[in-house]
């Protein structure tokens, strides 16, 4: 309780509220612009947070994230172009409402369900987080190694069309993560004598390259990209109290499922979003829009990167080491959702007008932001080159339909798995089977196997949907 009160106290700062407001505004606009994604906005937003306090920085980025999620539904509803796969389900029901001249109702319902869902998640976390913290105190290297493997177990679910391609992308990601010094012997690997590579590849420039530069190159490559006319129509009457009441049960159910699945450690958020994603694909008439990888999990990974960048120790013991900070963040999330909700409820007409920026003005500016942002990470050009070089495989992977999220999972989880495997092997004198004698490790590994089974199952259903579509066409 004391941590919660201290957390509330941290939020009594006008500059913090201003940053959150600006973050939400940027997020909604970016999310509503087709071609611009939530991960791209987060990656570009990180350099702007360097001078900020950790809480300001994280809430600013979370504002961008929640804003972009809602912004994605604006395009899904008004022009049938979901910014993110999660918004694809919104497009399925939302766009027909737009065609009937009821887009305002759809936008308001989308804002309301996001608001209620987020509140359920945050409240559950406030209740269950201390329990998680207690369990985490018993975590050693073998548990973290098992958690890393658990994170990788969802690769099949983020595979998109082809599982071998996803496994190849994840393996490439882990291989990239081994660049730098060996965690056990200190030997240099793939550094080619460059001291910049001794500490490995930084996550943020790699990520900006994979998601932003690849999109810039895709825009330049032009022809194949489908260009939709951006005629955002926001019309009709708003939601009535009776309509809100009728939908309440569905919203609560969705929020509870999301919270339960999203609360799983590691990449739980990816699994959670995939359950709805899978359902959306199963019932979608346009499954070819899917299979591009789930970007929500990527956003979680970027936020993780931002935590580390701002010196916050991430892991299941986060609640023990930074309790006040975490509770301030939770309450901050509720405030952010209120801001998104208000913007969605009252401002969707204006948002739809703002986003009519021609892409020939937008993407050159994004290119410059990519270069400047990467430079600002360490004030040197090395990271800019990393960003540009990662953009090329990112573009080719998109063209050859290799999913990017597994690559990113590999880059993020590779060091966690390798370092903790080495430490655990040292502790057990080279006996990996001894890992299983630790109950939490054995439990996490079992959950990882179950998760792997389900993610392969989800992958098969996505493929079935895609094959059915191909047969029809």
């Amino acid at each position: 309780m004391e941590s919660i009160l201290n957390g509330v106290q941290l939020l009594f700062d006008p500059s913090l509220i201003l940053f959150m407001f600006v973050g939400v505004g940027i997020g909604i606009i970016v999310g509503a612009l087709p071609g611009l994604t939530d991960p791209m906005a987060l990656g570009l937003g990180i350099p702007f947070t360097f001078g900020m306090e950790p809480l300001h920085a994280i809430l600013f980025l979370l504002g961008i994230h929640f804003g972009a999620l809602y912004g994605g539904t604006i395009t899904a509803i008004t022009i049938n172009t979901p910014g993110i796969p999660a918004a694809a389900a919104t497009a399925m029901d939302g766009y027909p409402l737009t065609q009937k001249g009821k887009s305002r109702k759809a936008l308001q319902m989308s804002a309301l369900s996001a608001f209620i869902g987020a509140n359920i998640s945050v409240l559950s976390l406030v209740i269950f987080a201390p329990l998680l913290g207690k369990v985490a105190l018993g975590f050693g290297p073998s548990e973290y190694f098992a958690l890393g493997l658990f994170g990788l177990s969802v690769v099949a679910a983020v595979a998109g069309k082809s599982l071998p391609k996803a496994v190849a992308a994840a393996a490439l990601g882990i291989l990239i993560s081994t660049i730098g010094t060996d965690p056990l012997y200190g030997a240099e690997r793939f550094t080619f004598g460059s001291f910049n590579l001794y500490t490995g590849i930084d996550l943020i420039p790699a990520l900006i390259g994979l998601f932003a530069v690849s999109e810039i190159l895709a825009q330049l490559a032009g022809k194949a990209r489908e260009e939709k006319k951006m005629e955002h129509r926001v019309e009709g009457q708003g939601l009535t109290p009776a309509e809100v009441k009728n939908s309440f049960k569905t919203i609560l159910k969705g929020g509870a499922i999301g919270t339960f699945l999203g609360a799983l450690p590691g990449t739980g958020a990816v699994i959670a979003s995939f359950f709805s994603y899978n359902e959306a694909v199963r019932s979608s008439k346009t499954p070819e829009n899917f299979g591009k990888g789930e970007l929500d999990g990527v956003a979680a990974a970027i936020l993780l990167g931002a935590f580390i960048l701002h010196g916050i120790r991430v892991g299941p013991d986060l609640f023990v080491t930074s309790g006040n900070f975490v509770y301030a963040m939770f309450i901050g999330i509720i405030i952010l959702e209120i801001m998104v909700f208000l913007a969605g409820w009252y401002g969707s007409v204006w948002i739809a007008k703002i986003v009519r920026i021609p892409r020939h003005f937008l993407f050159p500016v994004i290119t410059v932001l990519v270069v400047t942002g990467s430079f600002a990470l360490n004030n040197n050009l090395f990271n800019v080159w990393v960003t540009l070089i990662f953009g090329l495989p990112g573009f080719l992977m998109l063209r050859f339909e290799y999913p990017l999220p597994p690559l990113l999972l590999g880059i993020i989880l590779g060091p966690i798995i390798e370092k903790n495997f080495c430490l655990a092997m040292s502790a057990t004198n080279g006996q990996p089977l001894q890992f299983l004698t630790r109950p939490i490790t054995a439990f996490i590994l079992t959950v990882a196997l179950v998760s792997m089974y389900f993610s392969v199952k989800i992958h098969r259903q996505i493929q079935k949907g895609l094959n059915a579509k191909e047969t029809i066409s």
């Binding site: 001078g51 021609p358 290119t367 050859f400």
Partner: protein
């Protein structure tokens, strides 16, 4: 002395995973025929625009420390605008100048990022 873990174990494991998946896909498609997604359809790509854009972006980063942020950024935005669309010269010029000044002000003045000043640095810009 016997090592607990072989040197470079992880890079070796995952390099082999990549080799095996590559071989598997090669054999699979030799038997089943070519995967339509495994071939880059050049007709769908505007190669000239893509190459020109890539050259502009790489030249921008190479020239950044020499000519400085303000000049290279304005020119790069201007060229990229023309590669992606065909607006009026005045509009493109105004947009590149405005975007450069805004981004430079935010990063250099507010965030105190020492952006390269190039030869303009000798005049203290």
């Amino acid at each position: 002395m016997k090592l607990l873990i072989p040197r470079c174990l992880f890079p070796k494991i995952f390099a082999w995973v990549l080799v095996l998946i590559g071989l598997w896909r090669l054999v699979f498609f030799m038997i089943k025929g070519t995967d339509k997604n495994a071939v880059l359809n050049v007709e769908q790509i505007d190669m000239i625009k893509l190459l020109a854009g890539t050259v502009v972006i790489f030249a921008y980063v190479i020239l950044l420390p020499l000519l400085g942020y303000l000049i290279t950024t304005t020119v790069s935005i201007f060229l990229l605008i023309y590669l992606l669309g065909k607006p009026k010269v005045q509009t493109a010029l105004l947009c590149s100048l405005a975007a450069t000044v805004v981004i430079w002000t935010v990063f250099d003045k507010f965030l105190h990022v020492p952006l390269p000043s190039g030869f303009l640095g000798i005049w203290g810009v």
